[in-house]
Amino acid sequence: MAQPTMAIPGQLLGPASKYQPGPGTHIHEANLYSSLLGTVNVTQPPKAPAPVKRLNKIVPVAAPTPAELPTISVSFSAKSKREVLPEVNNIVLCRVLRITPRQAVVAILICGETVLEAEWQGLIRVQDVRATEKDRVKIYESFRPGDIVRAEVISLGDQANYYLSTAKNELGVIMATSEAGNTMIPISWKEYRDPETGISELRKVAKPY
């Protein structure tokens, strides 16, 4: 069956036995329907199976799709950007707003590759800062207000906050300013140094890619 190039919400795309549902589609009574207004894409299964989640995000390495079915998806028309929400396992960039002994409150700025339109708040709890020696972690030795942090979403959290974690080598502070106000450079996994004053400060430093 030849696929139409565009779809409107509710348009029949094909039977669920022939295609895998991709982003922008839904299944109703064993048939695949579009749920967005946009263009239809059919991706043949590559060696590594195609991500089933939304394509405009960094997708976890998990979710291997065993079937060999091609994935059909509807991508929203490119003329305008669409709002994106942080999802569990997404890598986000955020700015630290304030710290307490138990947690750091951050504002999520970028989710995956997309700059967010809306302001979403996140929380890095003290036990989620690093993977080892969790009981010795002190928030003020890991983050300071104003730092830019790369973190992973671990939960949709409570009413207001997403719960984030930096418990991986490549997660943590990627940009920091010193108390003197200069941009600092990372010198070890837990230290940033101000190049002008030479004073070093403690941070949970992200390993460079």
């Binding site: 565009m6 409107i8 919400p9 509710g10 348009q11 029949l12 922008g24 839904h26 109703h28 329907y33 749920s35 967005l36 207004l37 946009g38 263009t39 929203f76 028309s77 305008s80 669409r82 709002e83 929400l85 339109e117 809306a118 302001e119 979403w120 708040q121 949709l156 409570d158 009413q159 207001a160």
Partner: protein, 287 residues
Amino acid sequence: MTDRRRINGPVGATFPPVFVYEGEDAVKETKKTRSRPPNAIRKMYLKTGVTPSASGSAYLEIETSAKGSGSGLKLSCTVHGPRSLPRSTPFSPHIILSTHVKYAPFATRQRRGYLRDSTERDLGTHLETALRGAIIADRWPKSGVDIIISIIEGDQDRESSKAEGDESWDMMNALSGCITVASAALADAGIDCVDTVAGGVAALVRNAADDSVSNIVIDPVPSEHEKILAACCIAYLPTRDEVTNLWFKGDLGASDMELYTSLVEKGIQASKYANRVLVECLGETVG
């Protein structure tokens, strides 16, 4: 010496204006009758993306029924979001819809205030029910979306000053327009929907005062009929064959189930016609 402090009348004598009396016939001629067949809706114009600052928007216009005096329906809809909820709201695993319908102060014969009155809140509630059945709400956890509709022209005949056919019938037409335009704006905003929902109205009307025969028309214009006995507004999903909202008004004999069913059927037919316009409009948006 003339009094310069006040505005003086003309010096000479004047006469009050006398208007030419046109006779009974001229008045009678202005009484409108329905010119389309009973199973046809009025022409409709729909366009998406009219408000650049909103996430999604649409504009709907329904042509004026009669020559000259009538005013059609003009709706503008904006969709804002999905965006984060205020901090006070509890956790929600799905999107929270909030709908606002507002008549412009000049939209109807009776001037409207700036605050929403009960009919506008009523329209908003009905609209929310109609849309909630079409949206896939769990694709957007922890977020809210605002749907705001301004009724710019309220589909009322400006000439008939008498209170024939009270405003409740106009609300029906307004609601069906609101549903169609909101559906287009939601699709434009990229919010997941199971189908394109569209609104339709059917009414049981009586055309002459002495006539005991009543018949069913779709997309009724109150000023074109002598009396509207009952009306129903339907929000319908065509590919799923589901009704998401049903609003019935008027008095029908409780015994006559046939009449209820056929009124609903005609309402569905009207919304199918509206949906055709909607599909075409969305096709233009993508292409």
